[in-house]
């Protein structure tokens, strides 16, 4: 930890990863809600040839210039996907996979072409494949911050429009909102988030940075605002945590470790989030089952008593055991009901409903009739 506060490079890298996580968390929220998770994957793969072409055209390795190229190429991919799906019977998923892999192939051809050409200045271009977080310098972090800030400001400015677009596209259309323009804008922002991340986690794992924080945040809340802020924090946390964790042991690649941190947060959220989480669902279901089981015993006692003149007529456990062959279960339910004061045990060992038990039975009968 001490090393962390003293090491200038490390601080830069952690800052970069944090910004990346935050920005992709915010934009990922919209991607996940609009069910476009795999589009993020396609865009990040499709950004690859843009880097190669930009390098061939400009000979520059300045991240900002390469990012513009990557952005244009990623954005072009979404346009081609739209073209294919609107003008042929090819389905969306097929178009997505096709464009993703063909663009990536073009990128690979360009990259090998550059590597074999006499221009020796190409070193480091392929770090975009897996990202090379250690190579981040202050200048890169400033670029990332500026681009990320622009993206976040745009999200804030068009907050209610984007919200409507995410939840009710038809309604947005009927309000004469420029739906296609907004689509375009949001896609462009996602492309920005992706190219910010390319340098850090690379094209293949970037989609996880878009999807994971948003999926995790979704479990904790039903409100878009809260979800966005949560996704931002979770993304930032996995970015920073991933970097710090990856330097703690030898041979831990940073990009994948960042992704694993994000996945761990998803895992925790899916398990433990209140109301939605798996653990919560399980507890709710078992409480429900327990309640139903003891109510069933209570109602059986009620049904038996109804054949006598008093509803509080006691019955021996033997009579009930005809219905519940497993002694343990029956005893447990009876003692639980007794604890709640709904049944009582007579001196001869017979069980009878108490007045409040009878009352509850009447209510349950009414509920079941309705």
């Amino acid at each position: 930890m001490e090393q962390f506060f003293n090491d200038y490079t490390l601080r830069t890298v952690v800052l970069g990863a944090t910004i990346l996580g935050g920005v992709s968390g915010v934009l990922g929220t919209f991607v996940v809600l609009r069910q476009q998770s795999l589009l993020g994957d396609a865009v990040s793969h499709a950004a690859f040839p843009g880097i190669g072409i930009t390098f061939i055209l400009t000979g520059s390795k300045v991240p900002l210039i390469l990012m513009v190229g990557a952005g244009i190429s990623g954005w072009l991919a979404t346009a081609v996907i739209l073209l294919i799906t609107t003008h042929s019977r090819i389905k969306y998923d097929t178009a997505l996979g096709l464009i993703l892999s063909v663009f990536f192939g073009v990128g690979l051809v360009l990259m090998t072409f550059i590597q074999k050409s006499p221009n020796a200045n190409q070193a480091g271009l392929d770090s975009f494949l897996f990202g090379q977080v250690a190579s981040l310098v202050v200048q890169d972090v400033i670029t990332m911050t500026v681009m990320g800030a622009i993206a976040l400001v745009i999200v804030l400015l068009f907050w209610k429009e984007f919200k409507l677009l995410a939840f009710d596209r038809e309604f947005a259309h009927s309000l004469v909102l420029p739906v296609r323009g907004l689509d375009f804008g949001l896609t462009t922002l996602v492309v920005i988030a992706i190219i910010i991340g390319l340098q850090t986690v690379g094209v293949v794992l970037m989609s996880a940075m878009i999807i994971a924080p948003a999926v995790a945040a979704r479990q904790w809340t039903d409100r878009l605002g809260v979800m966005t802020i949560l996704a931002m924090c979770m993304g930032a946390l996995s970015g920073a945590g991933g970097v710090i964790f990856s330097i703690s042991a030898p041979n831990l690649p940073t990009g994948p470790i960042i992704v694993m941190c994000a996945t761990a947060i998803v895992g925790i959220s899916l398990t433990a989030a209140p109301h939605r989480g798996i653990l919560w669902q399980w507890i709710r279901r078992s409480l429900q089952n327990r309640k139903l089981r003891s109510e069933a015993v209570l109602m059986d006692l009620f049904d038996l008593a109804r054949t006598h003149d008093s509803l509080e007529y006691p019955h021996m456990e033997r009579a009930l055991r005809v219905i519940y062959p497993q002694t343990g279960t029956l005893r447990r339910q009876l003692s639980r009901l007794e604890g709640k004061g709904l049944v009582s045990k007579k001196e001869n060992g017979a069980w009878a409903l108490t007045p409040s038990g009878v009352q509850l039975c009447h209510r349950l009968v009414n509920e079941r009739i309705q």
């Binding site: 003008h87 042929s88 996979g97 096709l98 690979l108 990259m111 293949v204 999807i211």
Partner: protein, 370 residues
């Protein structure tokens, strides 16, 4: 052409053809993105199997990959069933996590094992002929040829054997279930083949370009035919064409062979997207134009028939009146008249139009249809 070149082309063709077979079913079942997920997610399985066998083309590797592939499918299914994550996000989460695990494993074992991340992601066909299969001291060709070839034979056998079951469960899975075909089992079998194919192909073309070979040729074939059997045959043929042309493109550019194969897959799709006989952009456009003329001609003959033998006929059937009455541009009106005249539906008598018997018949039929 040296034996070396011949062998690369042979392996490329076999790999491409083998990928195309399960790919055709993937795109018809709208699960094209599962190829993306599986081809990335098999990485940890490959790494473990590679760690055990030290070979990139042993049957154990294929089994390990196939198991990881099935694990991916099962995980995606399970996540989707919790209702906490939508399917697209589930796919994105599962495969990027497994891929990240794979990369971390490679980085950990890097000193002991010769397997680097570039090789996994990109593959290198040019190295394939160096890995020979030697049986009883005799060199019988590149090992990749046999591993992908045997997966291909298995897959072709599976498709031939279960052709009608696969066909039915692909196009009408509800009916398949009612007939007792257990589409679930078929689904997992198919996914198993997708995984095995991905493993067999990845050391040649890498995990991203496997997607291009799985989706591209079947998508192109889908534009050419409506019959499943023909689609399968065309997919295989197109895949082989892409492989061989891709090889020579790579030879010309001195670039990655796999990348060039993906580029050719894209070029192939682009060409067919424009000129495919039924589904292509050009023929769709031509059909739409033709329909526009046909509709206009019908309008014209109906209009003429309505006013035939009435006092207004002199006024209504004049050529220049059409422009007012049907709101046609002058050039369009002339086009319609000349087309109708050449089909012998009407003739011009001075300034007015007169229906021929066949024109009258068309008008009567058209009225019934409209």
């Amino acid at each position: 052409m040296s034996q070396f070149q011949l062998e690369i082309q042979l392996v490329a063709s076999v790999v491409a053809a083998v990928c195309a077979l399960p790919g055709a079913f993937l795109i018809l079942r709208k699960m094209a993105m599962m190829s993306d997920a599986i081809s990335h997610a098999i990485l940890p399985g490959i790494v473990i199997a590679f760690f055990l066998t030290e070979s990139l083309s042993s049957p154990l590797l294929i089994m390990g990959g196939a198991l990881t592939g099935l694990l991916t499918v099962a995980l995606v299914e399970w996540l989707r069933k919790t209702n906490l994550v939508r399917e697209d996000a589930a796919i994105g989460l599962v495969f990027s996590t497994l891929f990240a695990i794979g990369i971390i494993m490679i980085a950990q074992f890097a000193r002991d094992v010769h397997l680097d991340t570039d090789a996994v992601l990109l593959g290198e066909l040019a190295f394939v002929p160096f890995d020979r299969l030697i049986i009883a001291g005799r060199d019988i060709g590149p090992q990749a040829l046999y591993s992908s070839g045997s997966v291909g034979l298995l897959c072709a056998g599976f498709i031939t054997l279960f052709y009608k079951e696969l066909k039915l469960s692909t196009f009408d899975s509800a009916l398949a279930t009612t007939l007792g075909f257990i589409p679930g089992v078929l689904h997992y079998l198919l996914m198993g083949f997708v995984s095995m194919t991905a493993v067999a192909a990845f050391d040649a073309v890498g995990s991203v370009l496997v997607i291009a070979l799985m989706i591209g040729p079947p998508a192109s074939a889908y534009l050419l035919t409506n019959r499943l059997s023909r689609m399968l045959i065309y997919s295989v043929l197109l895949a082989i064409i892409a492989a061989i042309t891709g090889y020579w493109l790579a030879y010309l550019l001195n670039a990655s062979i796999a990348g060039c194969m993906a580029v050719m897959v894209g070029v192939q799709f682009g060409i067919l997207f424009c000129i495919a006989p039924q589904q292509g952009l050009l023929s769709t456009r031509a059909r739409q134009r033709n329909q526009r003329w046909q509709f206009a001609i019908k309008m014209l003959v109906i209009h003429l028939m309505q006013h035939e033998n009435t006092p207004e006929a002199v006024q209504e059937c004049r050529i220049d009146h059409l422009q007012d009455h049907l709101e046609w541009e002058e050039a369009f009106a002339e086009g319609v008249i000349s087309r109708a005249a050449s089909q012998k539906l009407l003739r011009t008598v001075g300034e007015t139009l007169e229906l021929t018997p066949s024109g009258r018949q068309l008008a009567q039929e058209a009225i019934v249809h409209i």
